[in-house]
Symmetry: C2
């Protein structure tokens, strides 16, 4: 499928609007994605207004796409709607727990990815913002997300105004295991990571961060233990506040 | 995209084999999926042997597809490989926490969904098994998954030998929210669920389960509070055992 093979993350968009007709068509087509018990445990908040984009931007570390994209989509794990359906139909929902969050988050992410594939096949460009789970409490407040709704992914969307280089990927040997998982060894790490580490773009990345290895750029600069641990606490607190309680 | 619009879950497969060449091509093409920091925090265990399918089957409540499909794929959230890369490159990984699990699970699910789209576009049929997170500890043991690897999705895959009816989906009004989330109301529940509840297939579902409403089939039979809570404890214990520690 060419649109998947040729995809790249798009962060700059033209002035051409994304019509509601097209957006709704893609969001509806994506509903064909498999979903737990056909419950569709997800929802999407569509942001078009300047004011709302300005509010969301700090949640995503002010990455410029949030305010420059014509559309921002926040995909949510959602057991609110299903639980309300139960309440209105003489049924007692029991979905305020970790398993239910994981099921709803899975539904939401699968749906999100089908939407991305459809949008890119239609010629749109998008950027997936992993920052959604870093500041969920602010996003929840801004978007008015109720009990049992948790944001899990954000997409900025528009017509592409750039054509960046495709980033490298690991060889398939790094990803697949036959019958049983084979833990990494010195040999498999060298086999799977040497080409990545040798790329000029990655060597430059090491140089400007004043590190010795590419791995150190990730552990010491981009995704550090201290930030990961602080954000883990935030996620846990936010999941509990949204009603997904955790056993001890 | 026709293959998405026409998709249905396929549980019966012909005898035609799925070649390694095709399988590897699809798994490699799916690597174009966006991924956190280009780290590709996922892996896939490919099951073809009868013996391994027999071992996996009980983890998925002996659903027949696990043993009758030519291929079973277990998609895993994987910080093992990346952490080993760090260890071999003078870097100290800090990915044994909840945030890192969520990041890796997101990567794995997005990758899985792109793979599903590509496989269905190639004419293959598949069934997504949500049971993966119900019995993770047994799957981990069978597949030899190391520290920082957690199974999050399983796919049974083959050439379709059935053409079931497409299940209904909710109207888009149930899924989307403009600018801010609008919590469900009596009116919105009736608007979004009435057609689903009126379908003969769903009315039959209520009748054979001897329930009063369709929602009760879910709360009282399919996804009950007691099972959800017991499985939440299992997931939490398993995540901790795999090294994704949880703050309190």
């Amino acid at each position: 499928m060419d649109s998947i093979q040729n995809r790249r993350t798009i962060r700059r968009y033209t002035d051409r609007p994304v019509s509601d007709a097209l957006l709704h068509q893609l969001l509806e087509e994506a509903e064909r994605t498999q979903t737990m018990g056909n419950l569709q445990l997800y929802s999407v908040v569509i942001t078009r207004s300047e004011e709302m984009k300005q509010q969301l931007a700090p949640c995503h570390f002010n990455q410029p796409m949030v305010t420059t994209a014509p559309v921002v989509l926040t995909f949510c794990a959602d057991f609110h709607r299903t639980s309300e359906w139960c309440h209105h139909r003489k049924a007692e929902p029991g979905y305020d727990n970790l398993l239910s969050f994981i099921n709803a988050a899975s539904d939401a992410l699968l749906y999100c990815q089908t939407f991305c594939t459809l949008a890119e096949a239609a010629g749109l460009g998008l950027c997936y913002l992993g920052t959604t789970v870093y500041n969920p409490e602010k996003i929840i407040e801004i978007l008015n997300l109720p009990h049992l709704v948790m944001p899990v992914a954000t997409i900025t969307l528009g017509w592409p105004d750039e054509m960046p280089q495709q980033p490298e990927r690991l060889p398939l040997s790094a990803i697949i295991h036959n019958e049983r998982y084979t833990p990494a060894t010195t040999e498999s790490i060298d086999r799977d990571y040497s080409a990545k580490e040798a790329l000029p773009v990655n060597q430059e990345f090491v140089r400007i961060n004043q590190k010795e290895t590419l791995a150190q750029v990730f552990t010491d600069c981009r995704y550090t233990r201290s930030v990961n641990e602080a954000l883990s606490q935030t996620i846990l607190d936010t999941l509990r506040r949204q009603g997904f309680s955790f056993p001890m």
